[in-house]
């Protein structure tokens, strides 16, 4: 059988086990555990889910079922500067799609992908609750409001170095 395992470092395993322990190894705390792990690793690769499965003593299939259910969890690493375009209704009617198209064009990637140098990744999300600023773009933790397609180049320029 072709089982290829990507090794987690021991401290990574210990970290995950520790997280499980802080939540009493209770399977009902799965989502909290996953949040903490994603915050730490940036994403939730299969290996991490395996260790969580061990820590919480629950089938890894169930964990994968949960990870794939919630859009907040991701199994692919994000770019150094993750870009999220809000496609909530308020942003949509104010032209968020055109902004998204501009990002796609500028970066040459589709939603859910990262640039080759792993600098940027592109995702869309539903309403960050800043509808007053529609259309809204998030780059990392920074929020850009009232973004027009013409602004895209300048936004990307900020992260050139």
């Amino acid at each position: 059988m072709s089982h290829i395992k990507i090794e987690l470092r021991k401290e990574d395993v210990d970290f995950i086990k520790g997280v499980c322990a802080t939540f009493n190894n209770d399977p009902q705390e799965l989502i909290n555990v996953l949040h903490t792990c994603q915050e730490h690793f940036g994403y939730l690769p299969a290996e991490v889910q395996e260790v969580v499965s061990d820590g919480l003593n629950m089938p890894v299939a169930k964990i994968y079922g949960v990870v794939t259910f919630y859009s907040f969890f991701t199994m692919t690493p994000k770019g150094k500067h993750p870009i999220s375009i809000c496609l909530g209704t308020a942003c949509y009617v104010r032209g968020a799609e055109k902004v998204l198209d501009e990002f796609k064009k500028e970066l040459g990637i589709q939603v859910g992908e990262s640039t080759k140098d792993n600098k940027f990744s592109l995702s869309s999300l539903r309403c960050v609750g800043a509808c007053g600023l529609a259309p809204v773009v998030l780059v990392g933790d920074k929020t850009y409001g009232r973004v027009a397609p013409d602004d895209v180049k300048n936004i990307l320029k900020e992260y050139e170095n």
């Binding site: 059988m1 395992k5 299969a46 089938p59 890894v60 299939a61 169930k62 994968y64 794939t68 259910f69």
Partner: protein, 592 residues
């Protein structure tokens, strides 16, 4: 009990509080259609995700249609199950489901037994509007040693998920993804092979569509049969004869041992043998092991592990290798009857008829899908030549017989061939839960006490309860027996063993609810326990009809030991009839 009066389709009915509309309607003879609902009576488990929405009905005072499978009756409720609104909704929802389903009915392995197909027919679906541009959710196909997954055909009834997680507690599969792409799959949507799947096949046996089916080995068997250089030997498991008739329109519980034998011969098998023979052999080995461990245990030998666990069920073996690898020294080392048969056939019997094992093909007819995997395990082959070449299920055999233009119902009964076709009643009852341990008791008692059993039938070991226990008096020695069928029940007993709390001397475990008669390769019973019970009754009938009912009295077994193996537990017996187990837990599972 508090009852509730309500009206369904203008008929009044009183039902106990808590009854669902679906069941109340059934009482009235109203058969509301459903795709996802399934009741497992004995296990007290109902699969009612209320996801298919086919069983909806109009209920007074409700804004929307109610799923009758999961809506409880209330006093004065007025239910209508076939108004235009209901029928239109049912049809439209069915069209939705079909629109996301491959249209390859003609060549689907479930064709004819597919519940979706039957429902489309029943609801009078003639057209799937918009099919020309409708996207269809598609997934990677997966073939494991036992089971084929074609999730394009999954309708999210969640029955397999329920079987795997709640009944079997295997947890190999779960609902994954969301929305249109939601389906049921192993972790990371990997192949089953890389999951914790035990190949018990219970998922297959409840799948309403062609999403989960068994790997079909009939073509390989057919090729072997027409190969003039091959001697093809077939063995049939005890549970098969109690269920095969169902595929030919016979009532559940109709024994077709003789007809089955005739059919196999008609198919061209050179020797038609019986796994029951190997079951008797298993008893000899396992019984000896039990007595050996027991006597050491009674003498205070700490290395004698108690309780002894049966090991004839490959799904069960897979289960403890995955979940209880720390206990892998506890089960009996005796191989399963299928593998004992193969080992003897390709040595003792091959010698007898003077052929090389490479020129012999051993085929097993099994009620089981895990047997397909078991016969492929490395340790069960010699120089790459497996002891058992192919294992086909009861369902596959039925299909094979039909393809060969054989009308099972008109065949005259025939007998198995000698010597590997001769068996006792003890071998037969292997097919039902409690049977292995009962057969073992019949032999162990007499060997241990040196006395003849007055009463052969240990009825205290029989029944359909998930976990049973009984104490058998071994002439002053109370022997505590535990029985579990269904892996979820097995887990309970195993947890006790692991915790050192188990009081049992011996435990029988069968992976499938009901034992082999409820196996994953049997004709689909859709959770209907009456079918399982009828099969069990047939098994016990066959036992009663046998002139010999104790394994150690089987003259051919005696002869086998005399001529070939020496005595039970001998070195040769160990070499051929025993095995060892692996820790499978550590396997991990990332395929890049």
């Amino acid at each position: 009990m508090e009852t509730i009066k309500l009206t369904i389709d203008n008929k009044e009915i009183d039902v106990p509080k808590g009854t669902t509309i679906y069941k109340a309607a059934k009482e009235l003879g109203i058969d509301i259609p459903t795709l996802c609902y399934m009741e497992l009576h004995d296990m007290n488990i109902e699969n009612k995700p209320a996801g298919c929405r086919i069983c909806v009905a109009e209920v007074s005072g409700r804004r929307t249609l109610a799923p009758t499978c999961s809506t409880k009756c209330e006093p004065g409720m007025v239910v209508k199950t076939h108004t235009p609104r209901v029928l239109n909704a049912r049809r439209t929802v069915m069209e939705f489901i079909l629109s996301d389903h491959p249209k390859d009915c003609l060549v689907c392995s479930k064709s004819g037994t597919c519940e979706l197909q039957a429902m489309a027919h029943r609801l009078g679906i003639k057209d799937i509007p918009g099919a020309e541009y409708a996207a269809v959710s598609t997934y990677r196909k997966d073939t494991s040693p036992s089971i084929i997954r074609d999730l394009d055909k999954c309708i999210m009834c969640r029955r397999c998920e329920m079987m795997c997680n709640e009944v079997q507690t295997v947890g190999a599969i779960s609902a994954v993804n969301r929305g249109f792409m939601a389906t049921v799959a192993p972790a990371f949507e990997q192949n089953l092979e890389y999951s914790t799947c035990t190949y018990c096949g219970q998922c297959v046996s409840v799948c309403p569509t062609g999403a989960l089916t068994e790997v079909n080995h009939v073509p390989q068997v057919l090729r072997a049969l027409v190969d003039p250089t091959k001697t093809v030997v077939v063995q049939t498991a005890p549970a098969v004869r109690a269920a095969l008739g169902e595929e030919f329109g016979l009532a559940p519980g109709t024994l077709v041992t003789g007809k089955m034998t005739a059919a196999l011969r008609a198919l061209g098998f050179d020797y038609v043998f019986d796994t029951d023979f190997a079951a008797d052999l298993t008893i000899m080995e396992e019984g000896t092991e039990l007595l050996d461990r027991l006597s050491r245990h009674l003498k205070g030998d700490k290395t004698a592990k108690m309780p002894i666990l049966t090991s004839c069920c490959p799904g069960w073996v897979n289960f403890f290798e995955e979940y209880f690898p720390d206990l892998k020294d506890v089960p009996s080392t005796a191989k399963s009857p299928q593998q004992m048969f193969g080992a003897i056939a390709k040595t003792y019997f091959a010698d007898k008829i003077g052929i090389n094992r490479k020129d012999m093909v051993v085929v097993s007819i099994m009620p089981c899908l895990a047997k397909k995997y078991e016969c492929q395990r490395n340790e069960f082959s010699v120089d790459g030549n497996p002891d058992v070449d192919f294992s086909i299920s009861t369902r596959e055999l039925a299909s094979f017989i039909k393809q060969a233009n054989i009308d099972l119902n008109t065949l005259h009964d025939e007998d198995f061939d000698a010597p590997l076709g001769e068996s006792t009643g003890a071998g037969v009852i292997f097919g039902t839960t409690g049977g292995v341990i009962e057969a073992a008791c019949r032999t162990a008692y007499e060997l241990y006490t040196g006395k003849k059993l007055k009463r052969l039938e240990f009825t205290e070991l029989r029944g359909m309860e998930g976990v049973r226990s009984a104490t058998i008096d071994f002439d002053g020695l109370p022997l505590n027996i535990g029985i579990a069928h269904g892996l979820g029940n097995a887990r309970k007993l195993l947890d006790d063993v692991r915790a050192g709390k188990s009081q049992f001397h011996a435990i029988e475990v069968m992976a499938c609810p009901g034992g082999c008669i409820g196996g994953g390769g049997q004709p689909l019973h859709h959770g209907n326990s009456e079918i399982i019970m009828a099969r069990a009754a047939a098994i016990y009938t066959e036992d009663r009809k046998k002139p010999l009912r104790k394994s150690h009295e089987n003259p051919f077994i005696i002869k086998l030991y005399n001529e070939f193996l020496g005595k039970p537990g001998s070195e040769k017996a160990h070499h051929l009839l025993h095995t060892h187990y692996f820790d499978k837990k550590k396997k991990i599972i990332i395929k890049k």
